[in-house]
Amino acid sequence: MVTGRPLGPRAAARGWLERPIRVLGAIWLAVVLLVAWELKFRPGESVFMPPMSAILGAFVQQWFVLDPGQLFVTDHFQTNAVPSLLRLAQGWTIAAAIGIGAGLVLGIWRPALAFLNPLIRFGMSTPSTALLPIVIVVFGITSSMNVALIAMGSTWSVLINTIDGVRSLDPTMINAARSLRLGRSAFFWRVLLPSASPQIFAGLRISLGIALILMVVSELYAATSGIGHVMVFAKTTFRFVDMWSAIVFVGVLGLLLNGLFGLVEARVLRWKLESSRGAGGS
């Protein structure tokens, strides 16, 4: 069973236990790792590596508060996490728009792809942090600078995947669409875009991960607030519990974003997921 259900049919018989067992089946590894950290790094063992309990305690205390009036988040969250999240949202949205838009054009229009291909490959291999000085000149030391850096770094994977998705459109599908005399716009919206969408989503997923990383990295320099700002300040003043608490924040954020993305993807690409499962099973 390559793609068996996680727990097999016996789970169904367990009735009300099924849910807790499923949750446990999903989180045990994370728990094992957290406990291993806790046991390994006792208080005072290492300045760099505080015990996990201290990190998680600081994480909850620094970012969250039991006050509905504050929307359950601390001022620290408001002044640092909110700007970071806004930058991430803007940067990634721009990357997605440019990546998908340009990718569709380049996927369809071969000469343009040939024209720009070396530049795309070059852009992909250039660390976007090395372009910081230019980005600062163009955007100033503002949130748009971070947004630009996030967008510049995370566009490539969307772009490349969209191009591939468009170019791998099945010839039979093209013929079928032509035989139906679909106009340009109908062909684009009803055939080309949906058929490329699994690849586009794969690119978007990769770029979301990159965007999150760049969100932090872009705030290490030239930012007046943000999670990266908190991280670097904590690091240089040797408050390692605070640094780890910010790192945990980013990790949890990554999990949440990935989960959310998965939900959206499962909805939009239902046909893809289920049709391939059906084909595999028959």
Partner: protein
């Protein structure tokens, strides 16, 4: 169903691997055990000098180090220096704790902060301090010539570039603002490398910046003041740290290092060596010797003034980085103190 048996074995294996993996490197980093890593370096060879690794930021200010290496002063003291480049003083501390280096080139405030949170380190030698009057200023808080910022009070709500958040320049500039009646919290601090601070101010992307006059060079700026002279008492700009275990396992080496630094400093401060010093520094930091000759000299000092240490502790308390100053006598061993 055969998989069911696996489901118990694999977590156990993973747990074992996880603990085993993290076990190995931590040993060398922990303070209590005799440092295995430190013995890798600093091996006294039978007759020859002791090899020590010293971190460097490749600054022009480190001219005494280049001088000492070039002119055999370290060898004279029984040491063979190898430099290890790091990007910042806190990376240097991580480097000596990990055993990748023996002496870390770090500023005094960072040294106190790291000591305070429990890093097993001591200051074994000074390097240079902030010049006090009557010496000419070497640092500046500056704005564009036509900037609307006329006095430090106008900086409220503005963006000030400093090279590192929580670093010495940031802390001292904040103290300077506080002294002039501006709450440092009301200013937006931006971390940028020095050349970009200068360009940022010149191009109007930053409202103000803090950098050494050497960094500003010929750029057209208006200086509001020198936070290091007007904001605080003398601070130790750069010093050398070693770990407790290194000092214990290599008796006498730190003392020799301190003495060699002192002798090198005396050599570079000798007026007849000035031109040679600039040439040597320029070679190592990639600057023009003529430019260096025009810059104000650093206040080189290989011995640590305990009064300065106490002042720096108070500064950190004032700026909210410490609640109580650590015991400076534990941070600075007897031999490194100014007599």
């Amino acid at each position: 169903m055969r998989l069911q048996s696996w489901s118990f074995v694999i977590p156990c294996i993973l747990a074992l691997v996880a603990t085993a993996c993290s076990g190995a490197p931590v040993q060398s980093a922990s303070s209590s055990s005799p440092s295995a890593a430190a013995t890798v370096t600093a091996q006294p060879t039978a007759a020859g000098p002791v090899a020590v690794k010293v971190t460097t930021l490749a600054l022009c200010n480190e001219s005494y180090l280049y001088w000492g290496m070039e002119h055999g002063i370290f060898e004279k003291h029984g040491l063979k220096v190898e430099t290890v480049k790091t990007q910042g003083g806190s990376a240097g501390i991580a480097a000596i704790v990990s055993g990748a280096a023996d002496f870390s080139f770090t500023n005094g405030l960072t040294a106190i902060l790291s000591f305070n949170v429990g890093f097993p380190i001591q200051i074994v030698a000074g390097a240079y301090e902030s010049p006090q009057p009557p010496k000419p200023p070497s640092q500046a808080l500056f704005v564009k010539p036509d900037s609307p910022v006329k006095s430090p009070k106008d900086l409220v709500g503005k963006k000030i570039g400093v090279n590192e958040l929580g670093g010495i320049n940031h802390i001292v500039t904040a103290a300077w603002l506080r002294k002039l009646g501006v709450n440092p919290q009301d200013v937006n601090w931006v971390a940028l490398p020095f050349p970009q601070i200068v360009q940022g101010v010149v191009q109007g992307r930053l409202d103000a910046g803090q950098a050494a006059l050497a960094n500003i060079g010929a750029n057209d700026v208006r200086v509001l003041g020198d936070p290091f002279r007007e904001g605080v008492n003398k601070v130790i700009f750069a010093a050398y740290l070693a770990t407790n275990s290194f000092i214990k396992d290599h008796p006498g080496v730190s003392e020799k290092f301190q003495a060699a630094i002192a002798e090198s400093i005396a050599a570079v401060e000798d007026p007849k060596n000035l031109d040679a010093q600039f040439a040597l520094a320029a070679k190592n930091c990639g600057n023009d010797p003529k430019v260096l000759a025009k810059q104000p000299q650093q206040e080189y000092e290989a011995a640590i003034d305990m009064a300065t240490m106490e002042d720096m502790g108070k500064l950190l308390i004032q700026e909210g980085y410490l609640t109580k100053a650590p015991d400076m006598t534990k941070l600075v061993p007897e031999f490194a103190r100014k007599k």
